[in-house]
């Protein structure tokens, strides 16, 4: 009975183990005193959130990366969902900015505020990179590959996992609020469109709008 369960659920269990291992890798890696912490975070995130899912999918499961959502998917759901999600995100964001003190004093880095070229780099490279990592791991690997069977519920589970990771790693900050806010919305886009490309674009655009808002609103 139990062996049949293991055989039957091996992919679910093993993939879950890999997800947990990746999260532990991010959360528990001892920082080195010889290297900038930001660089360390970038290296660990790249390995755990991008390289590991891609290799696991390809090498262990021997499945195409489309299983992770690297596909066009439903254009209608992708575009429409993105518009709705971004709108909803902006509404939530507006509420948070006006009715909570979470964004009080929130500002972009000075160099980003003062220099448009740096702002562009910041939005394109940094935000795009962060959004990609999160989309691949949480929406693609966790939601579409691992928790596919949970259906709509998987959207909230992946969002909860992300929130848990932020909490456990003491990473919560003003800059993290848009990511946390858009995590379930991006999950919905990916769930509906079966593509993380749509959710990545939506996340990226949402982050850009938030930064623009912070730049414009005094």
């Amino acid at each position: 009975m139990s062996s049949n369960f293991l055989v039957r659920e091996r992919e679910f269990l093993v993939t879950g183990g890999v997800v947990i291992a990746a999260l532990l890798l991010v959360g528990l890696t001892n920082p080195s005193t010889n290297l900038n912490p930001v660089v360390q975070s970038a290296i660990v995130s790249l390995a755990a959130f991008l390289v590991l899912p891609l290799l696991y999918c390809k090498m262990i499961l021997k499945r195409p990366w489309t299983e992770l959502g690297f596909q066009r998917g439903s254009l209608f759901a992708g575009i429409g969902g993105s518009l709705i999600a971004i709108s909803a995100g902006l509404v939530f964001l507006f509420g948070l900015m006006h009715f909570t003190p979470l964004f009080e004093g929130a500002r972009l880095p000075v160099s980003v505020e003062k220099n448009f070229f740096v702002f562009l780099l910041y939005e394109v490279v940094l935000n795009g990179w962060i959004a990609l990592l999160l989309e691949v791991f949480f929406r693609g690997f966790v939601m579409l590959l691992w928790l596919r069977r949970l259906g709509f519920l998987s959207v909230f589970v992946q969002a909860a996992l992300f929130a848990g990771l932020v909490y456990e790693t003491n990473s919560f900050s003003t800059q993290m609020i848009p990511l946390l806010l858009f995590s379930p919305l991006a999950g919905l886009i990916a769930y509906q469109s079966r593509s993380i490309l749509a959710s990545w674009a939506a996340s990226w655009f949402f982050l850009f709008l938030v930064d623009a808002l912070l730049l414009i609103v005094p």
């Binding site: 293991l6 055989v7 091996r10 992919e11 269990l13 093993v14 993939t15 183990g17 890999v18 291992a21 990746a22 890798l25 890696t29 080195s32 010889n34 290297l35 660089v39 360390q40 290296i43 660990v44 390995a47 755990a48 390289v51 590991l52 290799l55 696991y56 090498m59 262990i60 499961l61």
Partner: protein, 920 residues
């Protein structure tokens, strides 16, 4: 007529009879005699206690007082006294014996440049007045032009036509004898330093003088009858009728006259006794003949006269002054006054090699003339006060009748310019403070020489300082000499022996003296380890012991210091010396910890010697401190120290112990090792005082020389210094625990010296650390608990039971960890010691409380310490990895983790896969 004669005869006879009647009854003895002039003078001398000899002395001095008149003089000083080529130097003239104030005098400076000697053939640059030869005029022009022009830009002014006109009214009319001599008669005099005679300067014929009509080579004199003084003080005319010279005749229109005696002509005025020829006539020389006159020594521009009140454009041009500025020198005087040298006691110029300077000062002296007016003598003072009579063209005299008397004025015809050359001064030589002032000091002042062969003698440092050095130390040459003598007198018996070279040529290759010769060698060091049989004295060497006076001797350090200035070889020199009395030590007063016994307490030597100069520590610093303790023994308050001199062979007797010069008594009340009737070779003293106080123990005893069986008195001494007990934590093995290196010091030669931390130690992780408490004074470490309690803590956790001086633990904290290690020590004088202090020396037990002291240190893991401990391939790989970028290593680490996760996931997939035959 006949009757009248009879009456007259009768009157005379009557008067005679009356006188006879009056005096015929008076005894002959009471008769009044008529006194002679010499008797009267003798009576006056006796009445007023006048000594004839003294009066003669005064008279003789009075006779020549006319030749003792004060003549004006000048002194010249330079600032700086050691001028360098190109440097600005100031010559300052100090005139004396002038009646004028300094600001009224005329200072004529003259400057002789190198190569500008008098005569022809000198470079054209020297002939400033273009007269075809170099004269003193050129020297004067050189100096006074500098003085008057004050670096005025003459060339520019000349090129701009600045001398086409002159409108600054800067002429100055000079007055003879000084600027304040308004309407005063001018009589200029020359003072002959040899004879003291003042000659009136004339412009007439040099030989014009009074002439007496003596025939042949006869000289005019006045002669009088020879008189001698008899025993009563009276004078007696020579019976032989011989004459002596009483003076010299004067000549007037009425002929030759003498105040005493008669005019005569004699061959030898000094020894003349007879008037060889009567002098009856003479021919007087008049003022008109002599023509007294004065001339300034001012330099003149060609065709012009300085000091004439006119200073036109031509003169301005010549003197290179500003024709539109009446005071080019900006010193408050007009340009011509400056050329005249009025109030120019200071002269400043840029010194060049070979420059020589002089000054002649014109003014009025305090000596009055004999002329019938208000005049005083106008004279000139020279910088070297050197102007001999031989420079004159001739001397003579003239006679002038003043108030009824004929007054003779000696005259001279002389050009004072002829004296200028001999009054040149070299600013760098002769009488100037050009020598280096060298001071030499030695430290310590009473050093000890170790003759025992242990080479524990003091190192004597002798340093020379130069107060007025113009060069840096690196440009100053030092040459040292070391001399030895039994006593410190300048000329000791056997003299001072030069031991400079011998000190580095001793029998067994010992070299005691540092470098003694070279540039910048202002300090030498002499290690006083000379032994009794060391040979000193050059060709006739003698043993070192023969230069000692008892157990002390003297060293004298000479240093010659020299500064070189330029390639011409100009040098400044100086010499200094210092005398150092040293003491030799062969036997030593040894110090011991004491035992206390009995009631009342007595003390005895414990056998544990302190301050031996040795230590078991490998730490160089500890070894150095131990050596220091052999010389100055560190002790703590309220200890009792035992003293002993080895007398096992009985060479010492008649001991006398003192402490700081006061007797140190040891009897049976103090110790059973002492005696009541005499002092022995053992004594004790309590350490009382305050930290940093020193006590000098001195033992004087008779010592028998076993070889010669002679006895001499020797003095041994030992210095004890009271210190606060302290402790420091040190490593027992510097290979395991070592002081942290904070950085490096760089000396002047670029040599690097590591700077070790005194607070932080380092070790390898996992090492067995052994730390030791190092106590000062050293003997504290040998005291047992509870006299000395040692409370160790590591990170505030107590370690041990307070009895050990060492702790040991394993450094097993993670990398980068730090251990805080501390020791708190308590020194408690034993009850017996306190009792002995009280019973023997009356020191209250309340004065000997316990003392607390402590030390802390940090022990940290050395960076890369783990790497350093690896061996073989591990170390190679570790070293390789240490050179890789940290980002690469971190990435590798993460990727390995990813690989591990994938590997495990792959395994899980493999083992949970359903076998093909088991599939439905």
């Amino acid at each position: 007529m006949h009757r009248t004669a009879y009456k007259k005869t009768f009157r005379i006879l009557s008067l005679f009879l009356l006188v006879e009647l009056v005096f015929s009854t008076t005894p002959v003895a009471l008769a009044i005699s008529i006194p002679s002039a010499s008797q009267v003078a003798s009576d006056l001398e006796q009445r007023y206690n006048l000594n004839l000899g003294a009066i003669r002395e005064q008279g003789q001095q009075f006779n020549v007082s006319d030749q003792k008149k004060i003549a004006p003089e000048a002194s010249v000083y330079f600032s700086p006294s050691d001028p360098k080529p190109g440097e600005e130097i100031m010559a300052i003239a100090l005139p004396i014996y002038f009646a004028n104030g300094e600001d009224q005098l005329y200072f004529t400076w003259y400057l002789k440049r190198a190569g500008c000697s008098l005569g022809q053939g000198a470079p054209a640059r020297c002939d400033l007045n273009k007269d075809g030869r170099v004269t003193v005029e050129d020297w004067k022009i050189e100096a006074m032009r500098i003085l008057a022009s004050n670096n005025f830009d003459y060339v520019t002014a000349f090129n701009n036509g600045g001398y086409d006109s002159d409108n600054d009214s800067d002429g100055y009319k000079a007055r003879f004898g000084g600027d304040n001599k308004v309407n005063a008669p001018n009589y200029c005099y020359y003072h002959d330093n040899a004879s003291g005679e003042n000659y009136e300067m004339i412009s007439g014929p040099a030989s014009s003088s009074v002439s007496f009509d003596c025939s042949g080579n006869l000289q005019p004199v006045c002669m009088d009858t020879n008189q001698t003084v008899d025993s009563t003080g009276g004078t007696t005319t020579s019976a032989s009728g011989s004459l002596s010279v009483s003076g010299y005749p004067t000549c007037s229109a009425s002929g030759a006259t003498c105040s005493v005696g008669t005019p005569c002509c004699v061959t030898d005025p000094t020894n003349a006794t007879t008037c060889e020829e009567v002098l009856s006539s003479c021919t007087p020389s008049t003022v008109a003949d002599a023509n007294p006159s004065c001339q300034h020594l001012f330099p003149n521009a060609p065709g012009a006269t300085t000091g004439d009140g006119a200073f036109g454009a031509r003169e301005e041009n010549f003197w290179q002054t500003d024709s539109h500025d009446p005071d080019t020198a900006d010193n408050g005087s007009k340009d011509e006054a400056n050329v005249s040298g009025l109030d120019s006691s200071r002269f400043k110029w840029n010194y060049l090699d070979g420059d020589m300077i002089g000054v002649v000062i014109e003014g009025t002296t305090v000596v009055m003339t004999k002329h019938d007016d208000s005049s005083s003598m106008i004279m000139w003072a020279f910088s070297n006060n050197d102007c001999p009579l031989s420079n004159a063209s001739g001397t003579g005299s003239y006679s002038q009748r003043i108030r009824g008397y004929s007054v003779v004025f000696p005259t001279i015809k002389i050009d004072l310019n002829s004296c200028l050359e001999r009054n040149l001064i070299d600013p760098t030589k002769g009488g100037q403070a050009t020598n280096l002032e060298v001071h030499v000091a030695a430290n310590p002042t009473a050093p000890l020489d170790d003759m025992s062969g242990k080479d524990d003698g003091d190192t004597l440092e002798v340093a020379a300082t130069v107060d007025n050095s113009a060069k840096k130390l690196a440009d100053t040459f030092y040459d040292w000499k070391v001399q030895l003598s039994p006593d410190g007198t300048p000329n000791p018996s056997g003299n001072w022996i030069d031991i400079t070279s011998a000190l580095n040529n001793l029998s067994d290759g010992r070299k005691l003296l540092s470098s003694v010769r070279g540039i910048g060698v202002n300090t030498i060091n002499l290690r006083l380890n000379m032994r009794a049989n060391d040979q000193f004295g050059g060709t006739n060497p003698q043993a070192f012991s023969s230069f000692l006076n008892g157990n002390d001797g003297y060293l004298r350090f000479f240093v010659d210091v020299r500064e070189n200035f330029n390639s011409s070889g100009a040098v400044r020199k100086g010499r200094g010396s210092v005398l150092v009395r040293f003491f030799t030590v062969e036997d030593q007063v040894r110090a011991y910890i004491v035992n206390v016994n009995g009631d009342p307490a007595t003390v005895s030597l414990s056998g544990q010697e302190i301050c031996t100069g040795t230590t078991t520590s490998e730490n160089p610093a500890q070894q150095a401190l131990a050596k220091l303790e052999a010389k100055v023994c560190r002790v703590i308050e309220n200890e009792i120290v035992g003293l002993s001199v080895d007398n096992s062979n009985g060479v010492y007797s008649n001991f006398n112990w003192t402490i700081n010069g006061k007797p140190l008594v040891c009897n049976t009340k103090v110790s059973s090792q002492c005696f009541d009737d005499r002092q022995g070779n053992i004594s004790f003293f309590p350490v009382v005082g305050s930290p940093d106080d020193t006590s000098t123990i001195t033992l004087t005893a008779n010592k028998i020389d076993l070889q010669t069986s002679t006895e001499k008195t020797v003095t041994l001494s030992r210095v004890f210094k009271i210190v606060k007990p302290t402790v420091e934590i040190v490593s027992t093995d510097s290979n395991v625990v070592w002081p942290k290196v904070l950085g490096e010091y760089r000396d002047a030669n670029g040599k690097l010296f590591p700077d070790y931390s005194k607070m932080t130690l380092q070790t390898f992780p996992g090492s067995t650390v052994v730390l030791e408490a190092n106590f000062i004074p050293n003997f504290l470490g040998s005291l047992l608990y509870p006299r000395l309690e040692r409370a160790w803590t590591i990170d505030d956790v107590p370690i041990g039971n307070g009895t050990t001086s060492q702790i040991s633990f394993t450094a097993n904290k993670p990398d980068g960890s730090i251990y805080n290690i501390a020791i708190a020590a308590v020194y408690r004088p034993s009850d017996l010691i306190r009792k002995a202090l009280s019973d023997i020396w009356g020191i209250s037990v309340l004065d000997s409380p316990e003392q607390y002291f402590s030390a802390t240190t940090q022990l940290e893991h050395a960076p890369n310490a783990s790497l350093a401990r690896l061996q073989g391939p591990q170390k190679y790989l570790a070293l390789l990895s240490s050179y890789l970028p940290a980002s690469l290593l971190f990435s590798l680490r993460v990727m390995l983790s990813i690989g591990l996760i994938l590997f495990v996931a792959g395994l899980a997939h493999t083992f949970t896969r359903v076998p093909a035959r088991a599939r439905p």
